[in-house]
């Protein structure tokens, strides 16, 4: 892969190099051709001038031999292939080479200038003496010099092409290694920083895992502590309760009125303590329990609970909207509904017309269930304490209860990965919301 890319780059560079050189050479050749043509014209004109000046006497005195001799001087000019002189009447007078056939030359003088012809360069030049025209000189030159020059330039261009390609290749090799080194260096740096980040991430994850373990451990310790406390507290309390019952049944006649009242208070408090311990036990058991998820038909469940409440003689109005099904632990979710509904019943009991509405809102794929009542409500100022264990916003005299119900709700919902929230206003009622994670 790497080799393919570098090869392509090298080929591209060499191609550009070649094209640039070819273009340069092409322009150079063209320029050279034009310059050569001009210089050849100048050269032939100059030679013509010399020959004409020398040939004037020969023409003036009709000496063809002398004219031929003068023309023969052109032998020293390898670029001149043929030349001839016409006399004043335009008749062929002398030729070069002397033996050349007359057919080789134009029958009569033409335009007096030089220009390119098929096989070279040719033209006429007047032979004059004091403004009197004695005759005309014709000269024909070949392009051998041009061809030779072009061949030399071609060879030079080829050599330059080879040389520059070589230099380009070597430079490329040098630069390539340097570039590759640079790239490698940067890649290594990137890799190092990536490794650092990865290590850091791992460390963080490790720390999170550790913390989580610590937290879980602490949680479990707390749970087992509260479990064992509540469990262990139950036995002595039962014994206290039992003996208090015996005292109440068999010895209350021996106590005076005040003694009986105190005994009743003690008995009542022992009962309440037992209740508290039971609920605490139930709450702490929740933490130890594993979730068993299944499809729950919420509407059925809620309707069952509502009819249970009604069978207990609750007179309030229940409005139950259709509820979407959800996945969760059947028994626990049932506990949530039970707690919320009995809460609503409890706190709206003192109203003239208690109304309890149960429904759901689905937003962005998350279903939030709610239970609304028009009961005592609560002060939003104490919202923080609403879901705490044994936290109560109302006195036991007003509304009985231990303060564990909402704590259980929160615990169960959290175990399901959901959220609980509430809104309320004193004497105007309260709404409790809970959602379960979509999982």
């Amino acid at each position: 892969m790497k080799r393919a890319i570098t090869g392509r780059i090298l080929r591209g560079i060499l191609l550009i190099n070649g094209i640039v050189l070819l273009l340069t050479c092409g322009i150079f050749f063209l320029y050279e051709y034009v310059a050569y043509r001009q210089s050849r014209v100048d050269e032939l004109t100059a030679i013509s001038r010399v020959i004409s000046a020398n040939a004037s006497a020969a023409l003036a005195f009709h000496d063809a031999d002398a004219a031929r001799e003068i023309l023969s001087a052109l032998q020293s000019e390898p670029g001149i292939t043929a030349a001839c002189l016409y006399d004043a009447e335009g008749k062929l007078f002398a030729t070069f080479p002397a033996s050349a056939a007359d057919k080789k030359f134009p029958a009569e003088p033409g335009l007096e200038s030089f220009g390119m012809v098929d096989d070279g360069i040719a033209g006429f030049h007047p032979v004059t003496l004091e403004a009197r025209k004695l005759g005309t000189l014709y000269m024909h030159g070949n392009n051998h010099a041009l061809y030779e020059r072009m061949i030399v330039y071609g060879i030079l261009a080829f050599c330059i092409l080879i040389f520059s390609s070589l230099v380009t290749y070597l430079l490329y090799k040098m630069l390539k290694n340097r570039m590759l080194k640079e790239v490698q260096l940067q890649t290594n740096e990137l890799r190092e920083s990536q490794a650092t980040i990865l290590a850091f991430n791992q460390q963080l994850e490790q720390r999170v895992v550790e913390r989580t373990e610590q937290l879980e451990h602490a949680n479990k310790e707390l749970e087992s502590f509260s479990y064992s406390v509540s469990h262990d507290l139950r036995a002595p309390l039962r014994s206290i309760h039992g003996y208090l019952n015996i005292l109440h049944e068999e010895y209350s006649s021996k106590l005076d009125e005040e003694g009986q009242r105190v005994l009743n208070i003690v008995l009542k408090n022992a009962q309440r303590m037992g209740q508290l311990i039971d609920e605490l036990l139930a709450f702490s058991k929740l933490g130890r329990k594993e979730l068993i998820r299944s499809e729950i038909r919420m509407t059925d469940m809620v309707n069952n609970l509502v009819s249970e409440q009604k069978s207990l003689g609750i007179t309030g109005e229940f409005i139950v909207h259709p509820l979407p099904a959800a996945r969760g632990d059947n028994a626990m979710i049932r506990q949530v509904w039970t707690n919320l509904i009995s809460n609503a019943v409890k706190y709206s009991r003192k109203k003239e017309r208690p109304v309890i509405e149960i429904g759901s809102v689905t937003e962005a794929g998350t279903t939030t269930y709610f239970v609304r009542d028009n009961g005592a409500g609560f002060d939003m100022q104490y919202y923080d304490k609403l879901f705490g264990v044994f936290q109560r916003l109302h006195s036991t005299k007003e509304f009985e209860g231990t303060g564990v119900g909402l704590a259980i709700v929160q615990r169960v919902v959290a175990k399901h990965g959901g959220k609980v929230s509430a809104e309320g206003k004193i004497n105007e009622g309260a709404v409790f919301y809970f959602s379960l994670s979509s999982e």
Binding site: S56, A57, A60, F61, D63, A66, L129, E130, R132
Partner: protein
């Protein structure tokens, strides 16, 4: 005699009636042709006349020769072999701004100073006299008779294979302060 004839022709032409002009022109042409052929010198002298003029281009006379406002004189000593070729040749030409004049000297005694003198005499002593005068007058002496160059003539026309060649007596030319171009010398046979 010849001159008179041509004048007669011109007169006739000038005063001829206007009608049948074309006929007259044709008749005149025929007349002129017969006239020319009647007095035609040999072709050889046509060439020699041109050569005489051409010498003016390849030979340098001393400064102030001819003098200011003087014509360049070409003379013919002895009988005129050129007919009117000389006049035709130099017609409209000049030598370095000087108009060219042709003079004919039938008698040796009437010969005036010239710039070019064609000697058409055979008498050796007469030639000698003329060539001696020529040296002081800066006259180029030319001839085509035998040994004219040996009598002090500067250039002789020699006919070889029907072609006119030049033979130049360089010392004679030098004694008359005449400078002959090397181009001309190249063509000629030079004797000292």
């Amino acid at each position: 005699m010849q001159r008179e004839l041509s004048e007669v022709f011109i007169l006739r032409f000038r005063y001829g009636s206007e009608h049948s002009m074309r006929l007259r022109i044709a008749a005149g042409m025929v007349f002129l042709l017969t006239l020319v052929s009647a007095r035609q010198a040999p072709k050889e002298y046509q060439i020699k006349a041109v050569f005489l003029y051409n010498f003016t281009q390849f030979i340098s006379w001393p400064a102030e020769t001819p003098g200011q406002d003087e014509p360049f004189v070409i003379g013919v000593a002895g009988p005129n072999p050129f007919g009117n070729y000389l006049e035709e040749t130099v017609k409209g030409e000049t030598v370095q701004g000087h108009p060219i004049v042709i003079k004919y000297f039938a008698q040796i005694t009437t010969v005036e100073p010239c710039h070019i003198l064609f000697i058409n005499l055979t008498d050796k002593s007469a030639i000698k006299t003329l060539t001696e005068q020529a040296a002081t007058n800066h006259t180029l002496t030319v001839g085509d008779v035998m040994n004219v160059e040996k009598q002090g003539g500067m250039i002789r026309f020699v006919t070889e294979n029907n072609k006119t060649r030049l033979r130049i007596n360089l010392s004679a030319a030098k004694s008359a302060d005449l400078v002959i171009s090397s181009k001309l010398l190249k063509l000629a046979e030079v004797i000292e």
